[in-house]
């Protein structure tokens, strides 16, 4: 399948890998500490010392953007991992199990999906107080119903295949059927879900930061940076534009990768 990936997907993957490398290397690459305040240096334009200028408190925007990448990738990646692990297993179980259990769980998930996710997240985080583990858990669980639906549908399309029936007829256990027969044949859907959910989680977590429900200040979070810079945008655009562009580019790259994987799977299936 890798040879069939379109160039746009490779571009998307390269950008996401570059984000990951830059985020991991932030302590060595960032010219300043993310919360270091330069007194008298507020709203500085780009210069040799501050490549992307400074914000309303005189902090280096480049350093905060680099460290902010760590926050968003770590939180969004963890939330995506939770949603795909829980939703993936549940979806595959229901797709194979079918019957009354499948019907009951899917209707429960329909009810869960009818609650607007942002309201649910704001209620929970507002009540318990914002912290990185809670944000990861809430966002991860919010996406579980969507992932479950997709993975259940993918499982149903494979579960009726002759090779799954044949595995049952050979007396293979349900675990062996899931691991050996099912998982490799729904891997495309799983990869796509990881990618989509990471993008959604990045936007969602940044959105929570923008609304003041993200990681507590002075954490270098892109959503918080956009919100703080928004109120002073008439003084300088530099505190707003870099985190906004970084967030948009990350989500676009994830979408390009997802789209490419989806198209490659379609071609392989044909």
């Amino acid at each position: 399948m890798a040879r069939r990936l379109p160039r746009t997907a490779w571009f998307g993957a390269a950008v996401v890998v570059a984000y990951a490398v830059l985020s991991v290397a932030a302590p060595w690459l960032a010219p300043h500490a993310p919360d270091e305040v330069f007194v008298g240096g507020t709203f500085e334009p780009p210069s040799a010392e501050f490549w992307l200028g400074t914000d309303n408190l005189g902090r280096d925007v480049l350093s905060r953007v680099l460290y902010g990448g760590r926050t968003v990738l770590l939180l969004a990646g963890s939330a995506s991992a939770i949603s795909v692990a829980v939703g993936g297993m549940l979806g595959m179980f229901l797709g194979l199990r079918r019957g009354v259990v499948d019907l009951a769980v899917m209707r429960l998930l329909d009810v869960a999906m009818s609650v607007p996710p942002i309201i649910f997240a704001l209620l929970l985080i507002g009540a318990l107080g914002p912290s990185a583990p809670l944000i990861v858990l809430v966002v991860g669980l919010l996406f579980v119903p969507n992932v479950t639906r997709v993975m259940r549908a993918a499982t149903l399309s494979v579960a009726g295949e002759d090779f799954i029936q044949a595995a049952r007829a050979r007396g293979e256990s349900r675990a062996a059927i899931v691991l050996r027969e099912l998982l490799p044949n729904v891997a495309g859907a799983l990869i796509t879900e990881v990618s989509i959910r990471t993008g959604f989680a990045a936007i969602f977590i940044s959105g929570l930061g923008f609304l003041g429900f993200g990681p507590p200040p002075p954490a270098p979070d892109w959503g918080i940076m956009i919100n703080e810079g928004r109120s002073t945008i008439d003084a300088s655009v530099w505190p707003v534009v870099p985190p906004a562009v970084c967030l948009a580019l990350l989500v676009m790259s994830l979408n390009l990768f997802t789209d490419g994987v989806g198209r490659a799977i379609d071609r392989t299936a044909r």
Binding site: G99, D162, F163, A166, A169, R170, E172, S173, A176, N185
Partner: protein
């Protein structure tokens, strides 16, 4: 149940889910398969023969229900026995070859992986070396050339006829007592069909196993089976020695099936040959 009966189907009735209700697919079916016997099960599409074959594996699913009756394999009631007991029989003592052998092979697994995982699951006492030897031997038995190389290949790297033989090898790998073949020769050309029947005759001769051979082609029954049963609309309408059923069918449906077989001495064919 006599001492030589390996399988006994007793007054079995089963339904398929049809919208909000249930549609009968098997009606009061009874038959036996003796040890070492080849039973042919014939009938048109939708007559219930594939469902009966699946139920010999004790398979249950939400879309199907057993209304009445039993299937006993070696004395074990497959619908009353614990799930683990029935699961242990499948693949180990009951081998199953579906109609589309190629589609029954997991596309993402090599043939070696398929055979080895099956043998390790049902025969945990075998060493890795023995598993490898058995895998090669069973591929050779079904006529796959160069078994060591074949074990490293994926299913799509074989022809349709070879895939069917590999499906047969998987069914035979654990040395079952019963082989259930669900239309294994359907859709194959005449030469491959004949080769498959010859292979099945040889396997039967060497292994002395029981076979349920499901087909809609009465002509193939005569070449392989000791006894034949004919199904029509979920019921067994005729059963007896295979040659008797074919040469002297007693039920009107069986006579209709026999009449539908193409013959070289058909008047229409003779006319056409004469015209050319």
């Amino acid at each position: 149940m006599t001492a030589t009966d390996l399988v006994r189907v007793e007054r079995l009735s089963a339904d398929y889910r049809d919208g909000a209700g249930w549609r009968p697919v098997l009606r009061d079916v009874s038959l036996t398969i003796r040890a070492g016997e080849v039973l042919g099960l014939a009938g048109e599409s939708g007559s219930g023969k594939s469902t009966l074959a699946a139920l010999l594996l004790g398979e249950t699913m939400p879309e199907r229900r057993i209304r009445a009756g039993h299937v006993r394999f070696g004395g074990i009631d497959l619908f009353a026995a614990p799930r683990d007991t029935v699961q242990a029989l499948r693949g180990r003592r009951i081998g199953f070859v579906p109609q589309n052998g190629g589609a029954s092979l997991t596309p993402t697994m090599r043939i070696g992986g398929l055979l080895r995982s099956l043998l390790r699951h049902h025969r945990p006492e075998l060493s890795s070396r023995d598993v490898g030897v058995r895998a090669e031997r069973v591929l050779a038995e079904v006529g796959i050339p160069d078994p060591p190389a074949a074990l490293r290949r994926f299913p799509h790297q074989f022809s349709g006829g070879q895939q069917q033989r590999i499906a047969l090898a998987l069914a035979l790998a654990c040395e079952p007592d019963l082989l259930v073949l669900d239309e294994p020769t359907t859709g194959q050309d005449a030469l491959i069909r004949q080769a498959m029947l010859a292979l099945l005759r040889a396997i039967r001769r060497e292994r002395h196993l029981s076979i349920l051979f499901v087909t809609h082609d009465l002509a193939t029954l005569a070449q392989l089976c000791d006894r034949a049963a004919v199904m029509y609309q979920g019921e067994i309408v005729e059963t007896g020695p295979a040659l008797d059923v074919i040469e002297r069918p007693s039920h009107p449906y069986t006579r209709k099936l026999m009449a539908a077989l193409p013959r070289m001495d058909d008047a229409a064919l003779a006319d056409r040959v004469a015209a050319q």
